[in-house]
Amino acid sequence: MSEDEINNVTAPSVTRLKKQHGPIDRRKLLSAATTGILGSILGGRSANAAGFLSSLMGNTNPLAPSASAAESNALRMATLGDYVWLTPTKLGGGAQVQDLASGKTMAWIEYWNYGDSCPIAHHLAAFPSVDPRKGFEFVNSTQGGQNALIYGIPTQLREHGMLDPLWGQGNQIYRVGFDGQQMNLLENIAETTGIGLGVHTVIFPDATGFTVSDGQKDIVAFFKRATGYDKTEVIDAFRFDWIGNEPNGLLADNWFKGGKVRITRLVKAQETGVYDYRGIKGNKLEWEMVPMGEYLAYTGQLPGNDVKALTGADNCVHHPIHPLSLVTLRMFAVGVVFDRTTMEPMAAISSPDGTSKEALQIKKIADGIWDLTLDNVVTSGHECGFSPEGKWFTMTNNTRQNSMGVFDCQDRDPRNWKRVTVYKDSHWTGSTPSPFHITYSMDGSKMLVSELHQKPAKSAIVVVDTKTWTTIKRFENVGVDMQTMHVTYDGKYVLAIFSGFQRLEGGTFIFTQDTLEPVGYIPNFGGHHDCVIVPRNNQELIHSRCTTV
């Protein structure tokens, strides 16, 4: 077999045996054929037959050639709602905005057009706009450039010199404006501020600013929002470094035998007046903290300059009511809570079952330096989120535990937050499948969790009742590598995007929020990794994944 043939081998997923008589015989075939004919004549609706009776009953095909474009728009408008849907194109290197009412792509942007030689459009978040069709702004981070090397793509990026430390290694933060007709790059925030980060971008619930995080650098930055061609300012930025109790023993012991997290407020470089964390500057790892990245770290398979200092601080979410932001440290499934009024860490919580303490103290060492001591580490974590009414906080515990810690987070003082239970779906055994991204129904009565399965299995969705913290519904085999979910602001539908491990099948699965009935799929062109329905006000912003990742 030739090389090309190997590269292009495809086969149907279901194969019928040749020369196999089995349970299908001629009689059954005849029966099926007869049924099909009868169904076609009489119009069996479940088979989508268009028989004369169905025609008489008005059961006409809405997709018939005679249907006008306007009619098809009306159909979609009636089903999905009048929303603007923003998605990044991951390895495509850009973002696109779609009109869910018409199904049209309204505009897109590709960052390599602006001189970025390896943009991997990663996470994004949109600021509220009264009329998103006329204009809105969003922030889109780009993943570390060497991430293009870990997906099994036979690339020659390195040979062709496209991995420049500044413009080919990602970690750009693009602020983009849609003006009603096209997308315009307004600012590269990494260039403006000197802080280049490539993972979660999460807007404050009051829309005055946002955070960007990156577990590859263990840095979380708080930004003050700019609009138009104004420049974004940094409110504060923090780095998280792990100092293990046993750094010279077995590599895994570096984390699992405890230690302390040092939190440091970053300062601007005196020479330039901006921070010095652009491009690969500050990278502890060569690659992003992918799912299972913790496993790679403590088995020594993750290259990088400072792997042992890894905490995995790759996301920061915001409490919907209180001015509190929580940074996830993935290596420990621990959250560090910052008070945005003082811009200091106040407390920490530990999500896994079995940790000695669920509420942890932060000790201030000096101005801009804090320590968080972890006596023991049980497992790593990944994503987390607050419920929209601000009552619950949950975090996924992965690799070694596969569960979710559930906290009562209503108190303004995070030191009083209590872990009320540890939720675990019956499917969560071993290392996979594992809980992944989180969102909530509009009223917070349901938690929606994407469940990551090992390739090539398709992800599932788990719906959890937040009164009893039990599974009330599972959608199996939804799509490969499911990512984030988003609820339409009228509370009718949940849209779940899956990216196909960058190169396999992709799509957006839709189900009803209240009745939890599957609706169907819409296309996902380009392996999106994230999704946002552009909010029209701050109330919608709360449901726009500014409290969850």
Partner: protein
């Protein structure tokens, strides 16, 4: 005087383009009189007849039937005149092909709705008998000859007992013998019914049988013969010899009835029942329709439900198979050990996560490739004995070993010094050892970075930083 036509004019166009189809025509016909009009084609004969018959409105002039100017009447009244006062015989018989002869004859009277159907059918029966068709009452037009059809047309024209019969070339498509019979028949009937008759013909021999003959030439009607004494029966006529000799006219032979003479009665009764039982008939049809629709609807629902069941069952089987093949069964690279000399022992695991019952993997095919340039170059991968079985029975976690040889000169280094290696594992999966239904074909790709055995760790460490010694292989997560 049954008909009086005064200065009748029919013109088309205006000014220089004006054409007078009929010009200043005058004509009077007494009751029972027979007048013929001759003329060449296009001379205006048929136009004149159409105006007299209230079919075409004249440009000028007056037509009085029974002393009433018909074109001064409203349209509804004019229709009555057409139906009651005038009978038409056209150039072609124009029968309704789906009606019997007697139905065709009765129809104009039935449309009026003034006479009971049984009386109408009785007259139709009588008329058809008188035209010699007593045995053909129930014949359909397609079953009759041209002469027979023309006789039916005559009977139809007389069903309403008109005072004036207009015949426009009534024998145009008939042979000579038959056309003489038709004219003789008309003459006989005229004698019996007493209607006046205007016959347009191009046959001067036939025209000569009329009491008066007029000629239409370029729209102008002129008499060519003096009025004659009007006989009442053809046999008693005292005609002057015509210009050409005419064969003797023979009346139809003795009229014979259909054996049972039921056709007329049946038609009348059927028409009567149609009206009398209309409500009942509608209710019965509705009831039958409802039952039929209900049966069809139920059948439709049944078929739809069966199809739904079958489709759902099939979908469920496929979903369960996919779940089994992709989630319950897991597979990846377990370990890689260097054997030296570019050789590695590669261990693949296949795990049935539910332990029992077993999962069967048919014909596993594992290959290895090393990235060279932007393509994949196959590397020799030799399975050990346990990995060569045709069917693998998977219970729990099972390991299969292969020997990999990577003698590749210039491999691509995505990670400095490391080979980029791809393993493909194609499996046909079934829950049964002898599959009876679908199989799931699963195609896995596992990617690793693999350290060549001829590169010292120190050289690698200069370019790539690891927390420990450079690992032999690096598993790449799929995300």
């Amino acid at each position: 005087m049954i008909l009086r036509v005064t200065r009748l004019q029919k013109s088309y166009g205006d000014g220089d383009r004006r054409v007078d189809a009929v010009s200043q025509a005058d004509l009077s016909i007494a009751a029972g009189e027979f007048v013929s009009i001759v003329g060449r084609s296009g001379s205006g004969k048929s136009t004149l007849l159409a105006m007299i018959g209230a079919l075409t409105r004249p440009t000028d002039g007056e037509i009085a039937i029974g002393g009433e100017n018909i074109w001064a009447l409203p349209e509804t009244r004019l229709a009555d005149v057409r139906r009651r006062e005038i009978g038409f015989i056209f150039q072609f018989s124009s029968m309704l092909s789906n009606l019997r002869a007697i139905d065709n004859v009765a129809l104009p009277a039935l449309l009026g709705g003034e006479t009971p159907p049984n009386q109408i059918y009785a007259r139709a029966h009588d008329l058809l008998t008188r035209v010699g068709l007593s045995r053909r009452l129930s014949a359909f037009p397609g079953e009759m000859s041209g002469g027979e059809q023309r006789r039916v047309a005559i009977a139809r024209a007389l069903i309403n007992a008109p005072r004036l019969l207009l015949a426009d070339e009534p024998t145009s498509d008939l042979d000579e013998e038959t056309e003489e019979e038709i004219v003789a028949l008309l003459e006989a009937l005229r004698g019996e019914e007493g209607f006046g008759m205007v016959m347009v013909t191009h046959n001067r021999d036939l025209a000569a049988l009329a009491s008066r003959v007029l000629e239409m030439r370029q729209g102008i009607l002129t008499p060519i013969d003096a009025p004659k004494v009007q006989p009442t029966r053809i046999g008693a006529r005292n005609l002057e010899p015509p210009a050409h000799s005419v064969r003797p006219i023979v009346l139809p032979t003795a009229m014979q009835h259909e054996p049972t003479a039921l056709a007329a009665a049946e038609g009348a009764q059927a028409f009567h029942r149609l009206g009398a039982n209309l409500g009942t008939a509608v209710r019965r049809v509705s009831a039958a329709g409802t039952v039929l629709f209900g049966v069809a609807f139920a059948l439709n629902e049944g078929v739809a439900r069966y199809q739904h069941y079958e489709i759902e069952a099939h979908r469920a089987r496929l979903a369960a198979l996919e779940e089994l093949a992709t989630s319950t069964l897991r597979s990846d690279i377990e370990s890689i050990i260097s054997l030296g000399d570019h050789r590695y022992e590669v261990t693949l695991y296949i795990e049935n996560t539910r332990q029992d019952p077993p999962i069967y993997v048919m014909s596993p095919s594992v290959q290895a490739f090393v990235q060279v340039g932007t393509g994949w170059q196959e590397a020799l991968l030799t399975p050990t004995a346990e990995a060569t079985a045709a069917v693998l029975k998977i219970i729990g976690r099972q390991l299969y070993r292969f020997t990999l040889e990577t003698r590749v000169d210039k491999f691509t280094e995505l990670l400095p010094h490391y080979m980029h290696v791809r393993f493909t594992n194609n499996m046909l999966i079934s829950p049964e050892s002898t599959p009876k239904d679908e199989l799931f074909q699963r195609n896995d790709n596992y990617y690793v970075y693999l350290k060549p055995d001829n590169v010292p760790d120190e050289a690698i460490a200069k370019d790539v930083h690891f927390p420990g010694a450079p690992p032999l292989w690096i598993w790449m997560p799929p995300h």
